[in-house]
Symmetry: C2
Subunit: 335 residues, 2 copies
């Protein structure tokens, strides 16, 4: 019989439809991508993009990772921040930045195929951008994400890259996690993410990988088949404050996880997003529990099912794969 | 410059990316559907489906609308309801029903092409099913939705139909609306949806249609281009308690709205969902403000943009069409 499972952070019920249970080979592959466009992100094509705002270079002065402003930004730094109300409505101008992090000079599509060293450079670049953006007092939160594949929003250029968007407001999903974490902390005086890690390591059946201070797991109430979270075992609300050792560890763990997904599920499209706390600015008298009740992490969602959009209208997610089975398949995939 | 707009019910910020502004003809059409399967929903194919659980028949005894159980239900009535906890996790068995409402005996794909009388029968059928399902004390909420087109989750059979799922829990999206409505009511002692209707009729620039006691509008902070809400002007939390007159009015308004979408946007795929309050059962001492602070409505979201999935991870929506322009286009589309 199908189960209803509740995500303990967001309070969202998800149907685990075991009657329709799907195994890795059951997912038909989607390939509706139009022809690829000329790649502006390869070595030697630098003039096709706006000037870089950050890069990591090798000893010969060649870039390995390159950050450029988006050509079609969703947000820009052009104006002073203003806020308006009208009747029941609120409105802000979209002050912020929208950057593209080109992860390699080579025309490689999937981050899974970069070596650990290159992934480490990408992670250092994220941290460096966070630290720079934090200096702007108008900015509240930064979102780093990756769209791999056309149907995942990856566009017509395959070159491996991430995007970074900084905004003057909290984004809904992270805000819900902050509220869920605070609610749990207020009662238990413990971080819910730390409790989840303890529970998962104890039960074992949804853990994919435990290595270098990170836990990779399939969540108890996933929205999508083979959804994966990567959590640091060391509690911290802020991704960008991780140590150099953690960056190295994460690059190994991320590479291994992405490869497992690629091998097991036949190179599926996916999204990856870093959930991290908003910047806390030292207002007089301002007090926050975020330090103790939020825990940064990565979420990876492969695009395996066609049913898209209905969930938007209802908040009603139906996952056709048992999380314990998904974790077992991923765990047993050698890479 | 792009704007950040806040949905006043859910508190969700949405980017209105006017720099990327898209007009109706700018949306490339998606057509990745596999070949159609033999249709089990046409007149004469009744033995291909499970026995019907409800129908509306004409004077010759031929069905016009037919309700059948889903062949692959997400929820079933097989067991007593149980609830379990394990560490931080909650689990319920998925008691409920999953029904398919076949909207016509003819092989018509889009509800927009049914006549008003047929749509009226479908709406009466919804109400009738709600009233029957309400008798089961285990059930908390009912969701009625429609997936039109392959990419909207419509599957390999094109025959026009809706689905109904009843569950023992509140679904996240409706729950968020209930909470948003309650929060607003606690402060203002007014229904936020009624306030939105007043504001919209007053401003006028996002209203698509006002007819038969209903308002059709593009919301102030839509997630998707050409997202549309249909709201009854008369306050009520419960869709299924509408009067016969309202059913007639809604069938006319719904037909007109779906036709406008079809004509303006070249027959796009779409999802449609009814948001209505959960059943309120008379517990002793139980008190609720739902009667006054929630307002049922329909939401229609055409599938026009490819970028799917990233929003799931972030709760971060980017709408490439100005709502005021979308409303103007829809308003001016004669059907």
């Amino acid at each position: 019989m199908p189960q209803l499972r509740k995500d303990p952070i967001l309070g969202r019920w998800v149907i685990i439809a075991t009657e329709r249970a799907k195994r890795p080979k059951d997912f038909a592959h989607i390939n509706s991508a139009p022809p690829e466009k000329e790649c502006p992100f390869c070595r030697g094509k630098e003039t096709m993009t706006p000037p870089e705002i950050y890069s990591i270079k090798d000893s010969q002065g060649n870039w390995r990772v390159r950050v450029i402003p988006s050509k079609k930004p969703f947000v820009t730094f052009g104006e002073e921040l203003w806020k308006k109300g009208k009747g029941p409505y609120d409105l802000i101008n979209a002050v912020g930045s929208h950057e593209v992090i080109v992860e390699t000079p080579d025309h490689i599509a999937n981050m899974a195929d970069l070596d650990e060293n290159a992934i480490k450079d990408v992670l250092f670049t994220y941290c460096s951008r966070f630290k720079e953006i934090e200096k702007d007092n108008r900015i509240k939160s930064v979102l780093v994400f990756k769209n791999y594949g056309w149907d995942a929003g990856g566009g017509r250029i395959k070159h491996s890259r991430s995007q970074l968007i900084s905004t003057p407001v909290n984004l809904k999903r992270v805000k819900e996690e902050l509220e869920g974490g605070k609610h749990y902390y207020d009662y238990h005086e413990r971080c819910i993410f730390c409790d989840i890690i303890r529970q998962e390591l104890n039960e074992g059946q949804r853990v994919v990988l435990e290595q270098d201070g990170f836990v990779v797991l399939v969540p108890f109430a996933p929205r999508f088949p083979f959804e994966i979270w990567i959590l640091p075992k060391k509690h911290s609300p802020d991704f960008y404050k991780i140590s150099d050792d953690q960056v190295w560890g994460l690059s190994r763990v991320l590479k291994k996880t992405l490869l497992k997904i690629k091998v097991l599920l036949n190179d599926p499209q996916y999204n990856c997003v870093i959930h991290t706390a908003p910047f806390r600015r030292p207002y007089p008298g301002y007090w926050s529990t975020i330090e103790e009740d939020y825990h940064w992490h990565l979420e990876i969602t492969p695009h395996l099912t066609r049913v898209a959009g209905f969930e938007w209208g209802s908040g009603f997610y139906i996952c056709p794969t048992l999380p314990e089975e998904a974790a077992k398949f991923l765990k047993e995939t050698n890479v």
